[in-house]
Symmetry: C2
């Protein structure tokens, strides 16, 4: 049996993220019992029927009692509250980890809640689909994707190795960076594009005359480009507020880039526009 | 034989747009001879081998001589110059139409060049793929797509009906609007998103530290969202400069929308952010 075997895994929030983690670890043979904790009974029942969890409960206290590893997979703004509620029920040496898409503010809120014998390993699996809920969970969600772990000075080395091993077993490439860098990177490649997509749909809807909705003319390109504006408003409100500083900074940077384009259009500076577009195209093509 | 039969069609610029128009009309049995005019010999040879054109020439004069209909499918910034060169060689009653993605400035440049017996019908087939060149042309490109025609006070009614019929025969839904409205609509649903995508890639590339390229972390979502930043820089420079006024206006509107989001993030106004994101999501979902 592996050094990293988890006798009892508690998954708090049995949706796409939490459920797929449980399924992946089951498939890898790395967990004994999986207990799901959540509110919605129908979703939890689905999770049990699909074999995502072996048992479920609405009680955080009951769910985490005796757990070796607790995976927090509820929305990012709820993580601190959930942690505060479950901490008194953790056994000594338990490892707590999360899947929140913001790290700095989550760490700041969670670490002060933890006694010295509870080990928190902050993480963020960069994966997801348009779907949600236990019904959408599948064992290979994390295969070939990155999982970013952001240890802090307080992070226990053995707990870190365990969590790293679990994500690797789930098929992910584990990338380690500081929480600050994580939040800056995600602000750029994920949070900013969502803000821009929402703002773009708003702007285009607002720029027609009273009696025309310009959106009615949108073709495939616009639909593709704004697909992420169909994302869950609650989740994106929470992320925007949880990663406020990094996001405001990257919005500033974006505003400067766009104002460069705007100035060159106003000036009729075709050479500058061509250079700007070409450089962006080359950078974009380089990441494909 | 249809009232709308075109004995000789001249296609200026035998790429995806011009070539597909020729193929669609051939398939519909609406054209006799198709002559392609262009610069690149290899591309024109491909066009002849594929049956896109029956003959080709590098000479505008030769190509348009005797043509009933001339389709201008060269880049938008070249249309006026091309028109100036070919007009002296058109037969009386010839119909000139174009596929330019900007209409106001194109009309302003072309109409003054035309004698009264040459009939110009400004158009814009809203279709395209990532591919270009005659090799990429196919008869069904326009099927199920919109073609916007923007007649002016000078547009001849019979020429308009002919061009409308040709696009319908190519499978398109013909939509008629003023050039001003066309340019406002396209600025919103197409030109603005391209400017935003280029600026977004630029901003994200610029917001890392010296030694890190944040773009290296980009996942599927970012790649999808910025796909249009891989578009041809020359084409987009030309469109940006040709639709300057409408584009600057819609960039202003977008900047206001984004600054609303930014202010609400800075203020920690979760309720306002939620409402903004929800409204955008609903508008986006309504166009799918």
């Amino acid at each position: 049996m592996s050094d990293f075997f988890v006798s009892k895994l508690a998954v708090i929030g049995v949706g796409l993220i939490g459920g797929s983690f449980a399924l992946a670890l089951k498939e890898a043979g790395l967990v004994g019992e999986v207990v799901g904790v959540g509110r919605g009974r129908a979703n939890l029942e689905t999770a049990r029927e699909k074999g995502v969890v072996d048992a479920y409960t609405h009680s955080l206290a009951e769910g985490v009692t005796g757990a070796d590893v607790v995976f927090l997979a509820t929305p990012v703004r709820t993580l601190a509250q959930v942690t505060a509620e479950l901490v008194p029920h953790l056994k000594s040496g338990a490892v707590l980890t999360d899947g929140g898409s913001v790290k700095g503010s989550v760490i700041d809120a969670i670490e002060p809640l933890l006694p010295a014998d509870i080990h928190f390993v902050p993480g963020h699996p960069v994966a997801g689909t348009e779907q949600s809920g236990a019904a959408a969970a599948f064992a290979s969600l994390y295969r070939g994707r990155r999982c970013i772990l952001t240890p802090t000075p307080r992070t226990d080395a053995r707990a870190f190795e365990l969590v790293k091993h679990l994500w690797q077993a789930a098929g992910s490439e584990v990338v380690v960076m500081t929480p600050e860098k994580h939040d800056r990177v995600l602000a750029g490649i994920s949070h900013l594009p969502h803000m821009v997509a929402y703002a773009l749909v708003d702007a285009v809807a607002n720029c027609g005359d009273e009696n025309e909705n310009i959106l009615n003319y949108s073709a495939g390109g616009f639909r593709d480009f704004t697909r992420i504006a169909s994302s869950d408003p609650t989740m994106w409100r929470d992320i925007a507020l949880s990663n406020r500083a990094a996001l405001l900074e990257v919005i500033d940077t974006f505003e400067k880039s766009l104002s460069t384009v705007k100035r060159d259009i106003a000036d009729g500076n075709g050479e500058a526009l061509f250079d700007f577009f070409l450089k962006a195209k080359q950078r974009r093509d380089a990441i494909v």
